[in-house]
């Protein structure tokens, strides 16, 4: 137990010292970043008074630039789905590095059962399996993909809880294994031409719908169910959780399984959106997912943070990416800015830890 003797020593307690939810900090950061881009848009000489988020040219019926809003959230939605799972792992005090390659491996595996037999009247040139695996109902590739995710997550969780391997190492190993599986599955060849049903999973704004509805579900689970409470308790004080009768090992396996299934689902959505699965997909996704969680106020030391925070963290990354495109700075600056913001988020987290605010 850390410092048990701080405070005034008495039982007096300052009721007025209401806790300031960390989500509000993230929201504030998000607004500040938007204001900065809006400001830059007005002052930079080459911008023609174009607005970042508002519809100044009356192209849409609303006051916002809907096209940009859609792009902002669409480009973080798939990684956002991963971040929902990674957040839970981090709340238990762990980490999951395997999600990016798991996205690729699941995309390959699921897509190989979601291909269509005939492309424009000709046999599918990218077919991996014979006709038996063609034009299957969409539920089959989805169930196979999610099962693969659950299997990988169960291995991660088992190594972490039963073999006491540090989560960083266990999931780093799985990172390489999954990338290997993705390459091995079709000997490095892309798998393409899915069925219309499969494509529909990732069509249009579907990734955003998946992301937001899963966010709502996991927000409810983390805040209102026993699963959520035990996840926080383990990250807060694993020993106390064990002493309280929580089956910590089993619970951790469940958390890693759920995280991996979310990453697997992200892989399915990504391949459906792209209409192709390639072994190199999902590069750096695990890191961006962790970044979303950390920016959103999920503490790397466990026990603290929320799904709302992660969603806001995802929005911060989306706004930065979109904002840099808006002020016409290329990807290299985006990466540097994101790196800086991630470090700033961790510094803020450590400051909060020390001061217990």
């Amino acid at each position: 137990m850390s410092d048990t003797s701080h405070g005034t020593g008495g039982l007096k307690f300052d009721k007025t010292k209401k806790s300031w939810p960390s989500e509000l900090n993230v929201l504030l950061a998000l607004i500040i970043i938007i204001v900065i881009f809006e400001f830059l848009g007005q002052v930079l000489p080459y911008m023609n008074d174009q607005s970042f988020l508002f519809d100044t040219k009356d192209r849409f019926d609303s006051i916002f630039n809907e096209a940009r809003l859609k792009i902002i959230i669409l480009q973080v939605a798939i990684i956002g789905i991963i971040a929902l799972g990674v957040s839970q792992v981090i709340i238990t005090g762990g980490i999951d590095l395997s999600s990016g390659p798991l996205v690729a491996a699941t995309a390959m595996i699921a897509m190989s059962f979601g291909q269509t037999e005939l492309v424009n009247g000709f046999a599918n040139p990218k077919a991996l399996f014979g006709p038996w695996a063609m034009d299957l109902p969409v539920v089959i590739p989805v169930v196979i993909g999610l099962s693969f995710g659950a299997f990988i997550g169960a291995i991660n969780g088992t190594f972490v809880s039963y073999f006491k391997i540090p989560p960083f190492i266990a999931t780093l190993g799985m990172f390489l294994i999954c990338r290997g599986i993705a390459l091995w599955w079709s000997s490095g060849n892309p798998i393409s031409f899915p069925t219309a049903q499969f494509q529909a999973i990732g069509g249009g704004m579907m990734p955003v719908s998946w992301f937001l509805s899963l966010a709502v579900i996991f927000h409810i689970i983390m805040r209102y169910t026993v699963y959520g409470k035990h996840t926080y308790a383990i990250g807060s004080n694993e020993e106390a959780a064990r002493m309280s009768g929580i089956n910590v090992k089993r619970h951790k396996i469940m958390v890693y399984m759920i995280a991996a299934m979310l990453a697997a689902f992200a892989g399915i959505v990504l391949s459906a959106k792209a209409s192709t699965a390639q072994a190199g997909m999902g590069e750096f996704y695990e890191l961006f997912a962790i970044a979303m969680a950390v920016i959103g106020g999920i503490s790397l030391s466990g026990g603290r943070g929320s799904i709302i925070g992660t969603v806001l963290g995802a929005m911060v990354l989306g706004v930065i990416r979109s904002g840099f495109t808006y002020i016409k700075l290329d990807g290299s600056y985006q990466l540097m800015a994101m790196g800086g913001i991630i470090i700033a988020a961790v510094i803020l987290d450590q400051y909060r830890q020390r001061n217990k605010v």
Partner: protein, 260 residues
Amino acid sequence: MSEDIVLKTTDLTKHYGGVHALEGANFELRKGEHVAIMGDNGAGKSTFVRQITGVEQRTRGTVVFDGTEVNFSGPIEARESGIETVFQTLALADHLDVPDNLFLGREKTKWNWLGPFRFLDYKAMRQDTLAALEKTGVKIPNIHNTIEKMSGGQRQCVAIARTASFHSKLTIMDEPTAALGVQETEQVENIIRQLKAQGEPLILVSHNMRQVFDLADRIVVFRRGRICANLDIKTGDYTGEDVVSYITGAKTGAEYEGAA
């Protein structure tokens, strides 16, 4: 064996390799009785507690709890059969609030068909928490503050309220006030008096002579791994000095002659 004996150990012994941390402890606790365990550092007090609560496995001897011989494989099993322990290191989750901690691992839930995703009955837990705090006389201004924002005394009170709120058959406190200030100590002592008034038996490990004389019915003194005195301070005429001489080894209880 008498009906009203809650806990009885016979020849309870623990060796750590060649170190005889606890040797042949015969101990009895009756219903509603508050017994203090005293002794120097390393005298075997905590070792004794660890054998009863299943944190460690004893080398030899028997423990009879609530009329049956028990062999706890761990603290959870001990708690399930009714022994609640407040350890020196408080088993609280820092980022959770008071009801969450009180009900950790035994939450009140609804919609149980949802399995691990069954919903928490926050309302019932809040009501029970308030009742438990009232029962123990603990005053915590806002039970929805997280533990990390509380003083040491408040934390200790939460830990104790937690044990007291689950109708345990036996409560064990291992130096509950060692890290607390005067006011906080007083509050913890009030909780112990409440437990006494409710007739709940207690084993209190403490170094604080004044506290022990205030609260306990009986003092059991440990010295070098053995029980060396059993003093009924409610009826017998004992002073702190007597106890000190038992602790230091200047005296040994008549029935324990031959002990270390």
